[in-house]
Structures are given as C-alpha cells and as structure tokens.
Symmetry: C2
Amino acid sequence: MARPSAPLLSPEIIGDAGLALARAGKPFGVNAIARHLGVRPSSLYNHVDGMDEIVELMRGRLVQSYRVHPGGGSWDEVVLAVLRSHRRMYADHPLLVPLLVGKTITHPGVIAAYDDLATVLVDAGFPESEILTVIAVIDAFAIGFGLDLASPDDVWQPSEETRTLGRVLHGAAGGAERADRTFELGSAILLDSLRARLAAGA
Amino acid sequence: MARPSAPLLSPEIIGDAGLALARAGKPFGVNAIARHLGVRPSSLYNHVDGMDEIVELMRGRLVQSYRVHPGGGSWDEVVLAVLRSHRRMYADHPLLVPLLVGKTITHPGVIAAYDDLATVLVDAGFPESEILTVIAVIDAFAIGFGLDLASPDDVWQPSEETRTLGRVLHGAAGGAERADRTFELGSAILLDSLRARLAAGA
DNA sequence: ACCTGAACACCGTTCAAGT
DNA sequence: ACCTGAACACCGTTCAAGT
C-alpha cells in the first residue's frame, strides 16, 4: 500500500483535521493530525511544507467559517456581528490565538474580510486616518473577550483572607454567564464610544 | 560532581530563567532552561514538579514585577495604571498569554493584586455585583491591546486589489505608533464609560 | 504522485547511581 | 539533599524505498 489509487490526503483535509483537534482542545501537531487521519506523519509532507503551512491552512479555514458578510445592515450592526463572531472564534480555539496573532495576514480570504469591515466603516463616515485604529480596537476586544470566555469557570481561587475579592466572588455568577455579561458590557462601551466619535466628527 | 556544596538551583532561579527566555522570544521548556543554567534537564526535577509548576513560578514572578500598588490615587488613575502595566506585561511575553489565561489563579501575590483592584473599585462606589465584570473587562482590554502591540509591524499585507483596506493602509502609521494610538483610544473609551456608569448608578 | 519505514535531533519525565 | 546519566515515550522533519 505504498501509493493508494486515490490520494488519502490534501491540504484541506489536513487543515480541517488540525482545526477539529484544536477545537476539541487536543494537541494538533503533525503527529497528532497523522494519527487522527490514520496515516503516517511523514505522509503529510507530500501535501504540506511543515507545521507552519498547516497553521496557515487552519487560519484560512477558520476565518472562512467565522466570516461576517455585511448584508445591508447598519455599520454598528456589522461591527457588533464581527465582535460576536470573532469572540466566538477565539474562544473556540484559544490555543491558536498566539499563532494567529503573531503573524502578518496575507491570506486573501482574511484580507477580504477586513476589507469588508474597512469599507463599512468608511461608508459610515469614519475618517480614513482612523480606520486602522478602529479595526485594531475591535480585534483587541474580540481577542480579550474570547480568551475571557475560554478561561476556567473559577478564574480566581483565593487561599488566604482577602479584603474585597473573596466577598464579591461569593455568590457571583461564574463561567459563561459571567463572561457573557462582561462581553455585553464591553461591546456596549465600544459601540457607544464609536457612535459618539462619529457624531462629533460629522 | 554529583552533589555541589551549595545548590545550583532553586524554584526562583528556574522561574527567572524561564521568564528571561520567554522575554527574549526563545523557547522556555525544561530542556532550554536547563541548557541556559548550565545543568542537566533532570536536575530541575529536584526543585520543581514539572513544566506546569515552572509556568506557575513564571506567573508569580511576572505579576510581582508588573504589579501596580494603588498609592492614594483616584480610582481611574489606578485603573489606567493597571491597564498600562498589564498591557506591557502581555506585550513583553505574548507566548505566555495562553498559559496564563487558561488557568485558575491561586498564586497569593496575584490574588492580592486583584484584591487591591477590587477594593479600589468598591471604594469608588461601583456596586459589588459588578466588580468581577469590570475587572474582567479591564483584563480583556489589557490582553487584547498587549497582543496588538506584540503583533508584527505590518499586520495586513494584501496581495490582491482591495476596495478600502489597501488605501487606508497606504501611508498609515504602523508598528508601535499605531498600537499606541489604538491603546489610547481604547483606554479612553473604557474609562469614559466606567465614569458614566458610576455617575448613573450613584 | 503519494504512502511507508527508518533515521535524526529534539522534547518532558522517571529513576537508579553517586556524593 | 542534589546533580548526573541512561532510559522512555513523545515531537517535527528528511529521505530512500516501494508502487
């Protein structure tokens, strides 16, 4: 069984396997992907240059599936939809965050998604000199709240006496409920401020 | 040279070595730390339970060195100082972010730092039921802006024609300058909103 | 063209041996 | 008590061998 009549692998299959493993919180390295696909690690190198390219493939598949298509909604509806979707994306794949954040974005699909957002903001009336800053703020929010959602149910576990933290922890909502409240507050803050900025500049 | 007259290692030495490597962007695993300290990997296990405990040690040393001590300043000055300091911390150690975020915080020094912040917010008049949410928002901001600062100079590199993104990228500030502007806008948004919330609730 | 198997340099961890 | 060396199961990657 040196060469199968039909190929067992492809870049898409490899990228999707890595993504499925990452989503399940499992290791998603070359060996793990090969095991998952019932194939030898060295087989992957017939389709892919190495782990770096696998990460690139995963990024492409990921952004495609979380992409927001602005469909005639108002600019603030689009921004909120992007915030929600990207927050979910980062929360579902927290282990990928450092890999995604540390690299220059060249993937055409990812560029197109950001181009959509930039276009919506310019059309809304934001000055061109501020677009990149606003987009970076939106990204920063989504990452921060995504990682917050992915964090453990009990973020703090004091072992000694505290002045305030222990008291406010007692009986407070934890887990997804607390994280959702945090996101609602944070996104309301961001959108209010952007609306005020737009009104002041117009 | 089986046993030296004075120990070569300690948890502090090991944690600091890991932190120094992480700050330099180098691998900071057991083997790398041992190499850096001129010792065999197995030697570390006389002082430390494994990689997990080393990460805990790194977290403790890290938060200690970036800790903000509220010294009689107003609550919003303290929040801004925490934002700045934590943003710098995450930006200086982006590879540590997933390790720090994914785990329940038990380290007494870290708990004490959050207790300080919680006390300042309660004293300022924020309702106790909102304290955790506000702290989580502050954390989310710091992480997002820290990773933004750590990201490459050119975040986007379009290879094909774009409607808007390419135009606003052209001649825009990049790197630390853009990241600093993003942070100034984001932190101003957050503080304005918190002040408004406080005024409305009082 | 595409999968395999052996090989290499790595990684984290365990444990008996030495002082 | 504390460092070493050998050993183990892992990891990513290369490459000749097979069809």
